[in-house]
Symmetry: C2
Subunit: 354 residues, 2 copies
DNA sequence: TTGAAAGCGCTAACAT
DNA sequence: ATGTTAGCGCTTTCAA
């Protein structure tokens, strides 16, 4: 059951060459005689040799591993001992991983890393103690860098990583400014697309369920929507703030409906909330899209799950997270040094809800 | 930006002791003079020292990292070069991570590992090439062992890992027998709970949407359900096989309904399919639970999302995956050598769908 | 209890 | 093109 610790030395002996030559063959260096190369390869094959990653990392100072950090902003005091607040953590973890958005993040990251034989280490960082774990992990060289997805504004992690001189790239511009690379969406443009679509559909009594307004994404999506309506002559757009969760969407929709029973169109700042909004609309006897047109945001799996399937503003999450991984790799390899922003364009996807 | 490579030597000099002593303090060995221990700790603090993981792993032969493998069974031939079949992979990855089940798996694993300062490396293994990556990863000592969650029967990975002498624990008994530890649910018992509940609710014209019948979980849930009805005198239970996805549930339900328009209760082998079934029922003018009572399985987030919220057989996934991680740790530490099965009991959760 | 020293398995600089 | 050798930073005997 124990690793039989076959080393370069063993393979070298088997092939009748030196350690260095075997190393060269394994690392695909060009300056090796083709004949010898084949002999070595055969020896590797025969012995079933697998290089030791720790030994290699020790000298190359690279692990070929990156951390994928899902970061919250919990400011809860230090945990007492190693018995963390299990409930708080589980609640956060459960909520994060239940969100279809997260699956797309992982998909994009894995899509980029795997062909390069790299793999992400999953870390959840919703407390101060957890953030320390993340920085410690990187500082001890367990990973070459971090991909950070914040779920809250005011997340102190990006700035912390920069301060520690660690490689990191964020999903979305950090609310707390820091000289760090990130990928983001032209959220404002997305809000505009939603507004134009609803207007084109002939809806005139519009409202919106926004995301958290302390988050840039929440603000910008709303701003783009409101601005566009304003240019079209609408002075006031009823608004209810949600928290990007299904329940908060249903709740916000209900509020909107009670204050503006005659509304005929609504822009909801993400699909999960839009799904909740559709349920709330149905419960209040409104048909979607006949009575009320609904436009979501993200084009996540919730857009398909929702009845009716959602018209939504697509955010190319997989492409964005793949780009994040590429950006990080460039920083790690030193091919890029300046903090860089990569902004993606949203796209309207028309389905049945409007 | 480069790691400033502070070493044990530096801390030792700072503290005026030897490397060995600093090492002992850092690893919490008892045989260190308390006074010296404090001096060393102060030096560590002052210098901001972080031990190098690779160097440590090289000698301890342990990485404190484990792989979390989501495994499919794709038998597709070897990929040509490093340009994997991106579409197939993305489809698999997207489907896996969109499933609420997966979030709970991660939650349970992280819940166990994090307090121990360990973190899972996420790997997707749906092709032969990907499986090779997984074994190579483990053989080179990049992780101490693997947690394997198979999404298909006939997954060759568990047997492969055993053959390679690597540490691994499976979620659910492998369909292809192998001497390997696993955690599982008493699926048959779950089917029984569903049947008894529907009978107690007075439903008599029952049917079932099963999971894939080549999967032990699919077979057993169905067997438990059918057996129990049989003992209650029912000779035949209409059945439609699904694939554990929302769409397959809706489809199976529609088929069932066309053949047995008068059914008044249905057991659906997971919540995602049950959600699809509820939608299909609604589309065919049936009210849930008044006309047709529905019982799901898993108690995943889909059970809450579903309208109405699902009565379901709870599978304690988080506990099960945490137990998996513990089992793996025991194997790694040598505290457990025999393949072990840990079977969890299901529990009926009554909500509004029946 | 503490220190000196021998590796862990690999890469890379240098010599040939 | 190949071999020799000096570390990478740590843990862990073994002596003191």
């Amino acid at each position: 059951m124990e690793r039989q610790s076959l080393t370069l030395e063993d393979v070298a002996r088997e092939a009748g060459v030196s350690r260095a030559t075997v190393s060269r063959v394994i690392n695909g260096m060009r300056n090796v005689d083709p004949a010898i190369r084949d002999v070595v390869r055969a020896a590797v094959e025969r012995t079933g040799y697998a290089p030791n990653r720790a030994a290699r990392s020790l000298v190359t100072r690279r692990t070929e591993t990156i951390a994928l950090v899902i970061s919250g902003a919990g400011e809860d005091g230090e945990d007492a001992g190693d018995d963390e607040s299990a409930d708080a953590r589980n609640a956060f973890t459960a909520r994060v991983f239940a969100d279809p958005f997260f699956g797309r993040v992982v998909g994009g990251v894995v899509g980029f890393l795997r062909p390069r034989s790299m793999h992400p280490v999953l870390m959840v960082a919703e407390s101060e103690a957890a953030r320390s774990q993340v920085t410690a992990f990187l500082r001890e060289g367990s990973a070459d860098g971090a991909l950070v997805v914040s779920t809250h504004a005011e997340d102190p992690l990006p700035a912390r990583l920069v301060a520690e001189g660690l490689h990191a790239v964020c999903f979305a511009r950090p609310a707390l400014p820091a000289p760090i690379s990130y990928v983001d969406l032209a959220h404002r443009e997305g809000g505009r697309l939603a507004a134009e679509h609803l207007i084109a559909r002939g809806r005139r009594r519009l409202a919106t369920v926004t995301g958290p307004l302390d988050l840039p994404a929440g603000q910008e999506r709303h701003a783009g929507f409101r601005e566009t309506l304003e240019r079209a002559g609408t002075a006031y757009v009823p608004l209810a703030e949600g928290g990007f969760t299904l329940a908060s969407g249903a709740h916000a929709m209900t509020r909107l409906l009670s204050e503006h029973p005659d509304l005929d169109g609504v822009f909801v700042a993400n699909d999960l909330m839009a799904q909740g909004a559709c349920e709330a609309l149905r419960e209040h006897g409104r048909r979607v899209p006949q009575d009320v047109a609904v436009v979501g945001f993200d084009d996540s799996s919730a857009a398909h799950t929702c009845r009716p399937p959602l018209t939504t503003v697509r955010q190319p999450v997989e492409e964005m997270t793949a780009a994040m991984a590429r950006l990080l790799q460039e920083h790690i390899q030193g091919a890029r040094t300046e903090p860089t922003a990569l902004i993606f364009e949203p796209e309207l996807v028309v389905r049945d809800s409007s």
